[in-house]
């Protein structure tokens, strides 16, 4: 991308001007003199860029304008790299506007093990992110189809599953039974929440039991795996969907790559534990681009409308 293109694209984009250049205003037009002769501004931007304006694609290195990135659902316009979404962004791009109602918003994390600094960590994150825990649950619509959902948040201690995450998800599955609704869960998690010890591990059994209960009522559960889905979440509800979808290139696995490398003392191949690797080995049904996610979910929901779904016939 050249300098000119950036200004044409965004009337108000700001760009770091190299030191040797000078800026003048002439007849209401900005003139930049002595611009270094480069075809691609990435080199300059890479060193120092305004994160409010630009993001660098970790996959292809392209400097992307945040507004473009946002409009493209946080997917790189050049190489299709899927940037991580937080729980609020996920809800915003997946469900019909204004359709989401939230469950158990007042549930709060405690420190049952008296783990050092855990309380402070939680309350700092709550203030910073304006969410209470690593998952938002509720009820929403996908092209007018009612569903119950869980959207996990990687920003909250890597979406790790403590008592609150487990309880909120289990209650959401139970609420879905009561409402006779399908469930869609977007997983993103590093696994168990170490600071809650065995209470955390027990949430794996809890949510899996709730999934089984929901399933026993003949209801559909779609599990969407996003980057990264690992550890205790992979070893419980994330792997238990009737249909399992993954976002392209997402890291999905049980053990961490570093742990495996230490165990087997060799380097792992690049695509190990990628969504594509899981598709090849038979653990996901399909890989779906974020842009097509909502429509794909809608199609699956529609294909499951034959019986008692949503009270229609």
């Amino acid at each position: 991308m050249a300098w000119k293109d950036i200004f044409i694209k965004r009337k108000y984009a700001t760009v770091i001007i190299p030191k040797e250049s000078s800026v003048k205003v002439k007849d209401n037009l900005i003139e930049i003199e002595n611009l270094p002769d480069i075809k691609d501004i990435s080199e300059v931007l890479e060193k120092e860029y305004d994160k409010d304006i630009f993001s660098k694609c970790p996959s292809c290195g392209e400097m992307l304008i945040n507004l473009d990135l946002y409009e493209n659902l946080n997917v790189c316009t050049k190489c299709n790299y899927h940037f991580r979404l937080d729980s609020k962004q996920r809800i915003e791009i997946t469900f019909d506007e204004g359709s989401a109602e939230y469950f158990d918003e007042n549930m709060r994390t405690l420190n049952p093990l008296n783990y050092p600094n855990y309380k402070e960590k939680i309350s700092n994150l709550q203030k910073e992110l304006e969410i209470n825990e690593g998952v938002i649950t509720g009820k929403a619509k996908i092209n007018d189809k009612d569903i119950c959902f869980g959207a996990m948040d990687w920003k909250f201690i890597m979406g790790s599953m403590g008592s609150v995450v487990g309880e909120k998800l289990a209650r959401m599955f139970e609420k879905a039974i009561e409402l006779k609704l399908p469930v869609v869960v977007f997983s993103v998690s590093g696994g168990a929440r170490m600071q809650e010890g065995m209470l955390s591990l027990s949430q794996m059994a809890k949510v899996s039991a709730a999934v089984k209960n929901h399933s026993n009522h003949g209801l559909l559960y779609i599990s969407v795996l996003t980057d990264p889905t690992t550890g205790g979440v992979t070893a419980s509800f994330a792997s238990l969907g009737d249909i399992i979808i993954a976002e392209p290139k997402a890291t999905i696995g049980f053990a961490g790559k570093r742990v495996i490398e230490q165990t087997i003392r060799q380097k792992l191949p690049e695509d190990f534990q990628s969504a594509e690797f899981l598709l090849e080995h038979g653990f996901v049904d399909m890989i779906v681009n974020r842009k097509e996610m909502k429509d794909t979910l809608y199609k699956i929901l529609t294909l499951h409308s034959g019986g008692d779904f949503n009270g229609e016939s």
Binding site: N106, M204, A235, Q273
Partner: protein
């Protein structure tokens, strides 16, 4: 170093000195040495039985701790091992089969750690691959069909971390067990007999009753792993062991488990028969209670029990 460790070092130093002295002078001080050795044994026993979580970690991993084989021999009659997951292969890290427990046919499933290097290599140190969990599930579904109670023994550092394990879906295998065990229509008792390492342990641990031997441990992550991630120093494992609340007593208080089984002084390895007898007695007691329930009630109670674990406010 604790004062007992210090005294222990002192005693060892003294014994060595006296031995040297005896050799060089020819004076017999063996009575003195016997007294010191007795004191040494007493201190070692105290150190092991001290309630510190790290000591329990060491006892739980003791190389002579009773393993699956001791329980098969001491608790079951006519045990027959059944092999394979019918999909890929037989995983030696989990042993399963059928036999009589107090005259009742049961399905028995246990993580299998070896007692020597050769057996440990064969059994992958009790760390199962997905096919191990799938074998366990196959045997549990069989138990459900033939209305046999299931006895699971937990004794693993964790599910194996490797390429094959990931390719064959370690996560899915564990998840499937959690899901199916949550409403298996037959009684299930799980006993942590040694190490209960994370998801790989839980995959045999969704049960009507979860019991733990007094010095066994059950943890979301190994103390070493916790220390290296959260304390950035794996040598601080003893400190991490305190934070993790991984002892039987802690987990009973947190309502993660239902009962504690006593061990002989100093740990189960000091008296294998007594340990196995204690485990057998407690399994009998709990099995009697859960077998008295109507099957729908049993499964409902199991669900409610699993659902209630967790601490939060609202």
């Amino acid at each position: 170093m604790g004062s007992l460790d210090f005294e222990l070092k002192e005693i060892e130093r003294k014994i060595e000195e006296i031995n040297k002295f005896m050799k060089s002078t020819g004076i017999d001080l063996s009575g003195e040495i016997d007294t010191l050795k007795k004191r040494k044994d007493a201190i070692q026993a105290t150190i092991l039985s001290e309630s510190g979580p790290w000591n329990r970690v060491l006892i739980a991993r003791h190389k002579n701790r009773p393993n699956y084989k001791d329980y098969v021999e001491g608790m079951l009659e006519d045990f027959m091992e059944l092999h394979g997951d019918r999909n890929y292969k037989d995983d030696g890290a989990i042993v399963g089969g059928i036999g009589y427990f107090n005259g009742i046919p049961v399905t028995f499933i246990s993580h299998a750690k070896g007692k020597d290097t050769q057996e440990n290599i064969l059994r992958n140190f009790g760390m199962p691959h997905p096919e191990g969990y799938r074998k366990a599930l196959r045997l549990m579904k069989q138990a459900e069909k033939f209305k046999r109670p299931v006895i699971c023994l937990i004794d693993t550092p964790g599910a194996y971390c490797g390429i094959g394990a990931e390719e064959r879906g370690q996560g899915e295998a564990i998840a499937r067990n959690l899901l199916e065990m949550s409403d298996l229509k037959t009684p299930i008792i799980s006993v942590v007999i040694g190490e209960g390492g994370s998801g790989g342990a839980l995959a045999l641990g969704v049960a009507d009753r979860v019991l733990m031997l007094e010095n066994s441990i059950y943890s979301v992550i190994s103390p070493e792993g916790c220390a290296s991630i959260l304390l950035k120093d794996s040598s601080r494992a003893d400190e991490a062991a305190k934070y993790l609340k991984l002892t039987a007593k802690d987990l009973l208080e947190l309502k993660v488990i239902d009962d504690i089984i006593n061990e002989p002084a100093g740990g189960a390895h000091n008296d294998i028969k007594m340990t196995v007898d204690n485990v057998k007695e407690m399994i009998s007691k709990h099995l009697k209670e859960i077998m008295a329930k109507d099957i729908n009630e049993l499964v409902r109670d199991r669900y409610n029990k699993i659902r209630c674990i967790g601490v939060y406010s609202e």
